[in-house]
Symmetry: C2
Subunit: 225 residues, 2 copies
């Protein structure tokens, strides 16, 4: 039973992680939220969204961890970091892919989980709409669970839960409405911080999800003002 157990929820500040947190809370876990700055373009805006979401769900500082891993920006290799990828690519992975980002983030979550005795890590990854990222696939999380099993104390038991893994953006919007999540506090745009650009891949997916679900997106877009 997951009820009343400690669980770490990765909260970037986007719509998917917001819904993931709401789903975790719905299951009556004791939620701890982790937010990671990795030098992405909209870092400040995402941090603000994270803090607002924590406030909304009454998650205090003692159950919140904000970590800076700006070395990912130094390493580069992603348009999301404002850096280009300088090696030849023969694949269909989007150039916004940040090399091995989710392993870096999950490793932090596991270190924290092991110390506080949390048995679950929730991550809002979806294979459906953004299947281009190799580290967003369930098979990646499956093998990461084995890595956790072998790399931590024998008593440590940590599962990675991905409730959104098979959901489209339309499903996510519908489920968000059902759970009454504060969409207005979330941020998805890759490039802007005041108004969402409406044109980057992340904005397009979000706009399309709301459109298909026939729900009004409460955030403002500069392109359709």
């Amino acid at each position: 039973m997951i009820k009343n157990k400690k669980a770490i929820v990765l909260v970037s500040g986007g719509m998917d992680s917001l819904l993931t947190l709401a789903i975790a809370i719905k299951q009556d876990v004791e939620p701890y939220t982790l937010h990671v700055n990795y030098g992405q373009n909209t870092q400040q805006k995402e941090l603000k969204a994270y803090k607002n979401i924590n406030n909304y769900y009454n998650i205090g500082a003692e159950r919140s961890l904000i970590v800076d891993i700006d070395y990912l920006k130094k390493i580069g290799g992603s348009t999301l970091l404002g850096t280009s990828f300088n090696i030849k690519k023969n694949d269909k992975i989007p150039n916004s892919y940040v090399p091995f980002r989710n392993a870096n983030i999950l490793s932090i979550a596991v270190s924290w989980a092991e110390v506080i005795g949390a048995n679950y890590i929730f991550i809002g990854a979806s294979e459906v709409d953004f299947s281009g990222y190799p580290d967003c696939r369930r098979e990646f999380f499956d093998v990461f669970e084995k890595t956790i099993e072998l790399g931590t104390r024998p008593d440590t038991k940590i599962k990675i839960l991905t409730p959104l893994i098979s959901m489209t953006k339309e499903d996510i919007v519908r489920k968000g409405v059902e759970l009454d999540i504060p969409f207005e506090l979330s941020w998805s745009c890759y490039y802007n911080e005041e108004y969402a650009c409406g044109e980057c891949p992340s904005c397009k997916l979000r706009i399309n999800g709301f459109k298909k679900a026939k729900v009004n997106d409460p955030i403002k877009y500069s392109s359709i003002l």
Copy 2:
């Protein structure tokens, strides 16, 4: 063939990572060194050892990466971080174990390796003398390789090489003598920064290794001055 290929070597500044670097260089790889500060007690001394080792082997800034992950100290859970572990332990893992540290460090190495196109990561882990750490076992590195395979671009191929995995400290000293490594530049003590304490588990292992190999350890110990 590994010759002339780019390889990342994790260099903490200790004797094991020093030997690992020497072994990598002996195989004619193009070495890139990664040093990670994680808030450990002797952070400054280890960083200095790392820099001296880089200088010794003519590894310039363009092939060096120093990363701070002091969030591990914030998370705590290890005597190595000056923090105690506050959950019940029913195992035989030493209390200097830093929760999931090697996964955090390897994830950084993989991100860097993917961007620069390195196919190998060398790590100086040994199962023999320090088998108490779960994330120092070959089976952990094996499953981590699978995590890399699934979590990176399809074209990315990265192997984790552990040349010291079956070596005792005595073996390490002997091999170090054979490869003429600068033992005097390395640092092993967990607690002191001027003279090694000679009493912590890491000092004891080192002292014992030199003793068994009948080799003189060039560093100074406060306990046996």
